[in-house]
Symmetry: C2
Amino acid sequence: MTRQELIEQIFTKRTFLCVGLDTDIKKIPKHLLDCDDPIFQFNKAIIDATADYCVAYKPNIAFYECDGVKGWISLEKTISYLKKYYPNHLIIADAKRGDIGNTSAMYARCFFEEMDVDALTVAPYMGEDSVTPFLSYEGKWVILLALTSNKGSHDFQLIADTEGKRLFEHVLEKSQAWGNADNMMYVVGATQGRMFEDIRKVAPDHFLLVPGIGAQGGSLEEVCRYGMTPDCGLIVNSSRAIIYANSEPDFYVTAGENACQVAEEMGKMLKTYSKTKDDLRF
Amino acid sequence: MTRQELIEQIFTKRTFLCVGLDTDIKKIPKHLLDCDDPIFQFNKAIIDATADYCVAYKPNIAFYECDGVKGWISLEKTISYLKKYYPNHLIIADAKRGDIGNTSAMYARCFFEEMDVDALTVAPYMGEDSVTPFLSYEGKWVILLALTSNKGSHDFQLIADTEGKRLFEHVLEKSQAWGNADNMMYVVGATQGRMFEDIRKVAPDHFLLVPGIGAQGGSLEEVCRYGMTPDCGLIVNSSRAIIYANSEPDFYVTAGENACQVAEEMGKMLKTYSKTKDDLRF
């Protein structure tokens, strides 16, 4: 999916929501456990109920890998289902991979050839040759960790060099020599509030994938006030607050309602913060 | 496997070699492609031929994941084989995982419960809560990236703060509050030469997992001169130079010979650099 196609989806549907498929067998409604593949059945119901209110889905690979071969099958089925029935949704594999060049190339083959997802989250610690193998696939996206949503983000990402430049700013700057706003996004946690201003100084145009609203406590309004661009420039993820809002057989109805509610807020945010003087999109 | 058991294996066998199972269907001998599971058959032959000369095996997860479900099955079979026939070898899953707490906990469940490997490589970028879930498993090891073997290691790992402390030194220092030398090792590339002296200033006792000899060009002698401790403190990995030395049907014979040769050098290194005044191990 190209940047232009993504922007069109966002302004047509008036939402920049990504639904996180962090599907845990221990948390899904009990009645699904009798199915042949409970994880896939859960995902399918969540996807059908939320597709109108989001532009992206983000399977969190850890939640599938933890069931070994079985989990990997559920993941493949979920991705096939998305590609078949919702081809206009961006599929992000949240895997946080990154290794020496020849190994990153294998991960790229896994996610961009075998699974054929649109985007992959990548960890930057190992530098350029750990990231560039993912950038050689046309139409695919690298989503590089910059300033994450968790408490541990303060441990290393904020370390500043002698000129006051912090690690996440180094990542934003250096990586712009490897990719561009058409094939690279950054992960910035919703919990980082005004830090979005600093992010936008270094990466004014790039899309940001923003986890951390909902269960992690980040504010959508703050993210938009400080992080939104005329092209929106944001994909905001919610996982637990949408997919686990209800554990009864009608769980998907509640998931749909919650996604709809977030999308409505997002529509307002787009109107407030992305509108330019002569914008015909509103 | 405990630290003491690992040290005993090293000094009994006079080797600290880890054989990297970076098994690529495109690189294994052609005659294996007729087998039911060529990747597993290759691994099995390599393991049987090299087990006497190494103390650890390190499947590189990317190389299995890239074949999806099929690759995952080959990986599970390889690990089961190792656990059954070579229970005294450390099994390291080289996966470089790391995510927010609840997700790292799922990766931990994957590798330490489902697969039940001994050790996992972990990326430190996301800080404390991305690492600690892996440390709650008794008898298991976290191997945290510190100073990696690739060119890109210079991009971020060497960034220094106002006091001259570099990112990899921050990682070494901070992480010692999360784990200890009994449940944590660090990845330091063999290509880093004298930097091992700096590493040992901050982490004098921890075992280091050292990739980068062989195909990547690092020097075993240098690693040992600057990085070895009285307990050895090193696990040195070789992948391509051992497993792909020969692509004929007798590939495993060459792999065994190459592993034997590296182990012989390692025996000498142990005698030279780990020996203490009243050491009875030699």
